[in-house]
């Protein structure tokens, strides 16, 4: 087509270009009405009916000691200072056993034992399904962190959040489907929330507590009206361009992203403004007036994002350089627990009060546990042979403990839940069959659980 005749024979665009509106004209809306074909983030039907509609995934980085938190080992209290052949952990060395530093007490009506590290969370145990028989395969932070997120120990693969986004889409087109609240990066860096070979729509969007939670979220054009005029002209020119090109859906979808982005500038902002919450709500999370950081802020923002339809929200507790990795002195676990105990308990309570807990699966996990034997002076080493994690809400059976370790917490004694099983179960609760959620890449169908994974049926409510 000759450029001079570019305006003949196309649908008339009556509106003056310069006064173009942001509102979507009929043509474009029609085109995108059945958007499942063109919009990879449109909500999708799960494989089977499910209670959980979304996930809040809390990852405590560094390796949380199971026997000091959720896995009560009375024998280990008694065996302090003894050497056995099963100290576990790195290269399975013999170690002098170290007693846990905290007492355990029953919580809730169910009476699940939780140590004094988590006094607030302990009160919520009726909603919590504790898994004490978790198992990973690598004693390195990096590999184990990658695995609990992607199912792969060595190779970059899509994160569980990206898989869920890919499998279920999003409930709110004005927000990303997978958001990651991370002040700092954990081990393995951005890989833990990467889309990898899945389309980029599914990548985790990192939220950094502070003045700019999402890169480029704030309008840089100082005058809002000028930005609107810019978008108006671009929109009009884009629609003309679209009409000239047979209403190509890809072009139409791109026009819409500008509308989404425009709204995100305010809507996403709003989600981060916890100041609008009532005093009692702020108290639940342990937030002070005007506070916009800390784990309480992350938990409250997680609830606000969940309310707004974000499918998968990950909260990262700790970073690769400051975390639960207490080789030298287990007492430091107290600081890390204190930072998250009340906020997480508050989150569970808040979700429950608002009737959201049934539809929201809250997951807490870490990359591995710690050795029953001492490491350094008073610390514990890395221990992937067993550790604890928990699920709450979203169709998980509250008030139970599943699986067990041996008497000192060195190995899984029964009902082992491997990382792949854990993933399979989370997907199941969302209505996804982990063997059917596949993506063809480089000549084969990949899935989150590789060739393994078994749904833990007994913990489904």
């Amino acid at each position: 087509m000759d450029s001079s005749s570019a305006f003949t024979g196309r649908r008339a665009v009556v509106q003056s270009l310069a006064a173009g509106s942001l509102l979507m004209p009929g043509l474009l809306s029609e085109l995108l009405a059945d958007s499942s074909a063109s919009d990879p983030l449109s909500p999708k039907q799960p494989h089977h009916p499910a209670k959980a509609k979304r996930v809040i995934f809390i990852f405590s980085n560094g390796g949380v000691s199971h026997m000091d938190t959720f896995d009560h080992k009375p024998k280990l209290f008694a065996a302090d200072g003894k050497v056995t052949g099963i100290g576990g952990g790195l290269s399975n060395q013999q170690r002098v056993l170290l007693r846990p530093l905290w007492e355990f007490r029953p919580g809730g009506k169910c009476g699940t034992l939780v140590s004094d590290l988590f006094p607030h969370l302990r009160e919520r145990m009726d909603d919590v399904c504790l898994i004490k028989s978790m198992k990973s395969d690598d004693n390195e932070h990096y590999q184990a962190t990658l695995a609990i997120h992607t199912g792969s120990f060595f190779f970059s693969r899509p994160s569980i959040g990206a898989w869920v986004s890919y499998g279920l889409g999003t409930m709110n087109g004005n927000l990303p489907s997978f958001m990651v609240l991370a002040q700092h990066l954990p081990y393995a860096g951005t890989q833990v929330f990467a889309n990898d070979f899945l389309p980029a729509y599914h990548q985790g969007v990192r939220v950094v507590p502070g003045p700019v939670p999402i890169a480029d979220l704030d309008r840089r054009t100082p005058q809002r009206e000028v930005q609107e005029m810019e978008l108006g002209l671009a929109g009009a020119l884009n629609r003309r361009h679209l009409a000239d090109r047979g209403n190509d859906q890809e072009l139409a979808a791109r026009i819409r992203t500008f509308e989404t982005a425009f709204h995100m500038q305010t809507e996403a902002r709003e989600a981060f403004e916890v100041g609008r919450e009532s005093r009692p709500t702020l108290d639940l999370y342990g937030l002070k007036e005007g506070q916009a950081d800390g784990f309480g802020w992350k938990c409250l923002v997680a609830r606000r994002l969940a309310e707004r339809g974000v499918r998968f929200i990950e909260l990262i507790d700790g970073s690769s350089s400051h975390n639960w990795d207490q080789h030298g002195n287990m007492a430091e676990h107290a600081d890390h627990a204190k930072a998250i105990d009340r906020p997480i308990a508050g989150l569970l309570q808040d979700l429950k009060q608002r009737g959201m807990l049934d539809e929201t699966l809250v997951v807490w996990t870490t990359e591995f546990g710690r050795t029953p034997g001492v490491d350094g002076d008073k610390g514990r080493g890395h221990h992937s042979a067993c550790f604890s994690s928990w699920l709450a809400g979203g169709g998980a059976k509250g008030g139970i403990s599943y699986g067990s370790t041996d008497e000192i917490g060195a190995t899984v004694a029964e009902k082992r839940v491997h990382v792949h099983d854990f993933h399979a179960t989370i997907l199941h609760l969302l209505g996804i069959d982990h063997t059917r959620l596949t993506y063809r890449h480089a000549g084969r169908d990949y899935r989150l659980t590789d060739v393994a994974g078994k749904v833990v049926q007994e913990i489904l409510a």
């Binding site: 087509m1 000759d2 450029s3 570019a6 305006f7 003056s16 270009l17 310069a18 198992k135 990096y142 590999q143 060595f154 190779f155 970059s156 004005n174 990303p176 081990y187 393995a188 860096g189 951005t190 890989q191 990898d196 070979f197 389309p199 980029a200 729509y201 890169a215 979220l217 704030d218 840089r220 054009t221 100082p222 005058q223 009206e225 000028v226 810019e230 002209l233 671009a234 020119l237 361009h241 679209l242 000239d244 090109r245 047979g246 890809e250 791109r254 026009i255 500008f258 989404t260 982005a261 425009f262 995100m264 350089s321 990795d325 042979a385 899984v412 480089a442 000549g443 084969r444 078994k454």
Partner: protein, 967 residues
């Protein structure tokens, strides 16, 4: 590839020995058995020598205790042999005067009291790592370990704890040797035993185990067959499941008891106590079993690859030069490519689209070849050139531009998953990696023939050069192999097998369009590639020295290749050492003086000592006095490797000679060859009889020109990939490619000068309805600018692009490296150079490239995705970079033109490659007036109104679909 049968046999016979069909394997022959510390015996019907035998020596201490009960029990001669042994923490057993050839070695070991741990090697190759000897009475026949004897000795060594070595059993040949005497098992079951088996055991096994552990299993679990006696005797990936007579030592029993954390069977249910008791009883009665059919052999026969059939597949068939198809409209084609395309369109009854207009064509070809838009001057010149050669001239100008290599080199860097860091847990920087990047760019610019391009990347160090410079360039080219990913944080147990897998994986995809790495643990599920093929290539890289990039527990780089002659490097190193010694000597001397001095002179000497120390430290921290390449070299040991069963280096299987893929002829490295085999590998790949090399590369080049390949799976030409839409056209391109001397630029010319390339992107409704995916190419596929083209263009338009080639990145000096998995290397370096020069980390995405579908830095990216996300829109709305470039463009428009209409025209030419049409100019002017008014009322000073309102127009244009899509 279908080769003449004679040729296939001639070339491939050494390989076929280990192919799963086992067709050419000769049954092995018993060579020798030696009772290491006792008399001659007869075991499994073979005559064994005693410890007085000739051509045998052993340095272990003699030990015998015939009173220890053996577990499992065994026959008299074997028990006699086992319980008389040689022990020690450093034992070598030597067989001498062994004729050259292939052997398999088995070793009997036992434990007389407390368990100990030791490792075993055969001829210095470790075969068992940390074997645990078990409780008193435990014995085992370990092996067989395939061993190639060239130096007339077989040496079996035990290192570690005190091992008891009882007997050595050696077979000649590489076929399967008989399993250990089944003496422990009931040989002839009684009727009563059979009845027990039939009523209690067979139904149980069939119900609970056969689903995964029988011939009929959909997927065989752990390679274990429980549906026959041979299957049970052989065992699966772990040792045999039954120790006859000893339930507690039998893995089968351990598994069904479900007490062990690691081993629990069946996975989904639990046997009843009675069932477990029945199995225990069966094992106790030494597993009487009438099921003698060899199901292992049956499965092997079933899964054997039929090589003739395998090579009869579109991508493996020999390249043909297909005849040019006739077309009805003889005036339409410009060259033969068009005839292939038009013939298909005519057959489908689809009319090709009209030709693209000149501005659209110029914009298309300019982005295509150099990744940047045409300048207004180039647009005007092309518009004005009415000669038939106008387009040819444009193509030649662009192919000659140095920016061509930056664009097309980037495509290659995508495929080879280029990164400037190593990918280990701390992601160590590789300051020298840029040399390979620049080598690739230069290779495209000088149109290095593709076969040579391949050779230099795989074996440039072995090619030498006409000049020292050429030899150095070729060394740098092997950065391709060196760039393979590193893993973990450790040094002593560094997982080199994963780095080699990454090498083979990329090599297969890049050069052959084949997913070879699928055969690491098992034969390829879809393609005719065996595990032996995988380890045949593995041996080549096992025999190659990779540079060490530094890793958490060993931070210093080593094994890089000096870019000066070896003796020169030596001289410089010695020179530096001398200087270092001098400086340190000076420090010592001054310290001595200082210690003797008092008062003022002591003070002055203190300072002198400090200065001298500083000088010495400075020299020590300086980088080496010569440049180095991050490149590979021949390994210290150049040798074949054994198959790693299930991909586990600790489970060696049969040895495999280094060779090329069997289905591609299986050429093997000559036995006399002393090299790694990389040069041969390169020549096997680019041998004209290998149809994959040219097909794969021709498809890639087509893909980058059209945005879609003829095969849409450019890295997978196997059964899981997609066959080409135009197979004859692909073969035509591939044969022309080879004929032109593998010239990539010649292939560009052919494609670009075709009529097909010049079509408009708008197709009529009939074409769209009939061929929605545009597979038949009735119009040019529209596509989005990739991340680099977008960023480079914004920089160019904003007048900020630095067109100079990039050099090294500003990494922190090596002497300061302290990277760990806790504090990994992480950086983003700003630059106004083209995006191909951005520092790319293996495991951290560059924030900009992550948003716009940049290449995956950890795996080969054969084709960019083009996702459309709100984050991209946010970037174009609000990112400082975009605003900065818009400001630059505004400034330029204001400076270069005097009137607003002229400025609008220039903006359209720069951003969209065409002049404004219809009401576009007036709309732009109206927009500017509106913005100006708004800004004025927002009290923006009048002297900034021009700049700011033009900047608003520039931002608007940067968000247009017409800007980011190429018609």
């Amino acid at each position: 590839m279908r080769l003449q049968v004679g040729y296939l046999l001639l070339i491939a016979s050494p390989v076929l020995l280990c192919a799963p069909s086992g067709a050419a394997a000769e049954p092995p022959v018993f060579y020798r058995g030696i009772n290491l510390n006792g008399p001659a015996v007869v075991i499994d019907g073979q005559k064994w020598d005693g410890n007085d035998a000739a051509n045998y020596r052993c340095n272990g201490n003699s030990f015998e205790n015939q009173s220890v009960p053996l577990r499992p029990e065994t026959d008299r001669d074997r028990a006699l042999m086992i319980r008389s042994s040689r022990w020690g923490g450093q034992i070598d057993v030597d067989l001498l005067e062994v004729p050259a050839g292939e052997y398999q070695v088995c070793l009997y070991v036992w434990e007389d009291n407390d368990s100990t741990t030791f490792s075993l090697s055969v001829n210095d190759r470790q075969v068992v790592k940390k074997y645990s000897s078990g409780s008193a009475g435990t014995w085992r026949r370990l092996g067989p370990w395939p061993t190639k004897v060239t130096g007339s000795v077989i040496r079996v060594s035990a290192r570690g704890g005190d091992a008891n070595l009882s007997g050595l059993e050696v077979w000649r040949g590489s076929g399967e040797i008989p399993t250990q005497g089944d003496s422990g098992f009931v040989k002839e079951p009684t009727a009563e035993q059979l009845a027990f088996f039939e009523s209690r055991i067979r139904p149980l096994l069939a119900t609970h185990c056969y689903e995964c552990h029988s011939q009929a299993a959909k997927e065989l679990g752990g390679n274990l067959l429980l549906d026959s006696r041979p299957g049970i005797l052989k065992g699966g990936d772990t040792k045999p499941p039954i120790v006859p007579g000893d339930p507690d030592a039998s893995l089968l029993i351990k598994a069904v008891r479900k007490k062990d954390a690691e081993l629990q069977m069946p996975p989904d249910s639990k046997l009843s106590d009675t069932e477990v008791a029945d199995l225990e009883r069966w094992v106790k009665m030494r597993a009487p079993d009438p099921r003698t059919t060899d199901t292992i052999a049956a499965i092997k026969a079933k899964s054997a690859i039929n090589w003739d059939k395998a090579s009869d597949f579109w991508s493996l068939r020999p390249l043909s030069a297909p005849s040019i198809p006739p077309v009805n409209d003889g005036s339409w084609p410009s060259n033969d490519i068009d005839r292939f395309v038009l013939a298909r369109l005519e057959a489908a009854g689809i009319k090709p689209a009209a030709d693209a207009n000149k501005p659209a064509l110029l914009r298309r070809v300019t982005f295509d070849l150099i990744g940047l838009p045409p300048s207004p001057g180039e647009i005007a010149a092309f518009e004005a050139d009415k000669s038939p050669e106008a387009f040819t001239r444009v193509v030649e100008r662009l192919l000659d531009s140095p920016q061509y290599g930056e664009r097309w080199g980037r495509h290659w860097l995508d495929v080879v998953r280029y990164a400037d860091t190593a990918g280990d847990n701390s992601d160590f920087p590789i300051p020298q990696m840029y040399r390979y990047r620049n080598w690739v760019i230069a290779a495209f610019n000088r149109d290095l023939p593709y076969d040579q391009f391949v050779r230099e990347q795989l074996a440039g160090d072995l090619l030498g050069g006409d000049t020292p410079e050429q030899a150095q360039e070729r060394l740098v080219a092997t950065g391709y192999i060196a760039n393979a990913r590193r893993f973990g944080s450790r040094v002593t147990d560094y997982p080199q097998h994963l780095t080699i897998e990454d090498t083979i994986d990329n090599l297969g995809r890049t050069f052959l369009g084949t997913t070879i790495n699928c055969a690491r643990c098992h034969n390829h599920k879809f393609d005719p590639i065996t595990t032996e093929d995988y380890y045949g290539l593995y041996g080549i890289f096992h025999s190659t020295r990779y540079p060490w990039p530094g890793i958490e527990l060993e931070q210093k780089q080593r094994d890089l290749v000096p870019l000066v002659p070896t003796d020169e490097a030596q001289r410089l190193l010695e020179q530096r050492k001398r200087r270092q010694d001098e400086l340190e000597g000076k420090v010592r001397e001054l310290e001595k003086q200082r210690n003797a001095a008092q008062g003022e002179s002591r003070k002055s000497l203190e300072k002198q000592v400090a200065d001298a120390k500083q000088e010495a430290a400075r020299l020590a921290s300086e980088t080496l006095p010569f440049e180095q390449a991050y490149a590979v070299a021949e390994g210290a040991k150049r040798e074949d490797v054994a198959v790693q069963q299930k991909g586990d280096p600790a489970k060696p299987g049969p040895m495999v000679p280094r060779h090329f893929l069997t289905v591609l002829g299986g050429a093997a490295l000559p036995a006399t060859d002393q090299s790694s085999g990389r040069l041969q590998l390169a020549s096997w790949i680019v041998d004209p009889s290998n149809p994959l090399a040219a097909r794969v590369m021709a498809n890639r080049i087509w893909l980058y020109h059209f945005g879609q390949g003829l095969s849409t799976t450019p890295n997978d030409f196997g059964r899981q990939g997609k066959p080409p839409t135009h197979p004859e056209l692909l073969d035509h391109l591939a044969t022309q490619f080879i004929k032109s001397g593998w010239s990539i630029k010649a292939l560009h010319r052919q494609i670009l000068l075709s009529h097909t390339y010049r079509l408009a992107s708008s197709r009529d409704e009939a074409a769209t309805a009939q061929d929605p995916a545009n597979e038949l190419l009735s119009g040019h596929p529209r596509r989005r600018l990739d991340a680099e083209a977008l960023r480079d263009t914004l920089l160019l338009l904003g007048d900020h692009l630095d067109p100079s080639p990039g050099g090294p990145h500003p990494f922190p000096p090596q002497t300061e490296w302290k990277f760990t998995q806790h504090n990994p290397f992480k950086a983003v370096y700003d630059t106004n150079r083209r995006s191909v020069y951005l520092m790319t980390q293996r495991i951290q995405r560059h924030p900009y490239l992550a948003i716009f579908d940049g290449p995956d830095p950890a795996a080969s990216t054969p084709q960019r995705q083009a996702s459309t996300t709100p984050l991209q829109a946010l970037y174009l709305l609000n990112d400082a970079f975009v605003h900065e470039q818009a400001g630059g463009l505004a400034k330029r428009l204001l400076a270069e033109r005097d009137t607003d209409p002229a400025r609008v025209e220039l903006a359209y030419l720069l951003v969209l490659g065409r002049k404004p049409a219809g009401d576009e100019a007036s709309s732009a002017l109206e927009f500017l007036r509106g913005v100006r008014a708004k800004l004025g009322s927002a009290s923006i000073p009048p002297d900034q109104l021009d700049q700011q309102s033009w900047q608003a127009l520039a931002r608007t244009m940067f968000r247009l679909n017409e800007f980011v899509y190429i018609d």
